[in-house]
Symmetry: C2
Subunit: 140 residues, 2 copies
């Protein structure tokens, strides 16, 4: 019997695809409490930022900043949270999370105990607008 | 009566200083459960990465990568966690956190409920070695 280690982010997209190139992809995370929560996933299976070459780091972070800018423009959050953790899935990926004073965990990080029922309330077309904004920043 | 809003990271160092230049400083966080936990703090009071110019972002992240590399070399963690949150203190700063399978929260982020008593056990000189490693990478 052989044991095969499966990496979730090698095997699955990790969310709804918004944009990709040959190096990385941007997905929308399915989280009813956090509309607009995106992940930027490096396609190659590496663990840490310092496992990438300097140009690759720069490319990945330029993508993260474009997503931050798109989320700020479309979702108008009170704060952006950026995090590269990967303790459960050690495949390099960035969380880009719009935060609001009324959200489920504010001002705590989203990974702790909820403070209240979140009240995400956005126009029905936010997802299309976010995808369009991301693509106008990254494609072309 | 006037109300003055005080920013903790404008007023205080935020930890034990390891290195600084005119733009940012690196401090060691006082956290008995997380030896080696550093913060990279942008000195100017801005909130988000996309509030910085591209060269400033690059400078800040080059510092973050140097700290990640120093922590990996000196502290030999199982994983690095990077995060820019700032919900409580919206003054741009990066957490650079060495994580171990036996630490208090692993594999969860350090901001949730503890999973166990952490067992940080390092040689008594880790702090001096980390400071030396950081400075050899950043001072030139």
């Amino acid at each position: 019997m052989t044991t095969k280690t499966v990496c979730e982010l090698c095997e699955q997209p990790g969310g709804t695809l918004l944009w990709q190139d040959s190096s990385c992809r941007v997905v929308l995370v399915e989280d009813a409490d956090y509309p607009g929560f995106c992940r930027v996933i490096w396609k190659q299976h590496v663990s840490e930022m310092t496992d990438l070459s300097a140009p690759d780091r720069e490319h990945l972070m330029a993508t993260v900043y474009a997503i931050e800018a798109a989320i700020r423009e479309v979702m108008k959050p009170d704060k952006i949270n950026l995090a590269s953790l990967g303790n459960l899935t050690p495949h390099l990926h960035w969380h880009v999370i719009p935060r609001y004073r009324h959200d489920k965990h504010f001002p705590q990080p989203i990974w702790g105990a909820g403070q209240r029922a979140g009240k995400p309330a956005f126009m029905p077309d936010w997802q299309a607008r976010l995808k369009q904004n991301v693509n106008s920043r990254l494609s072309g």
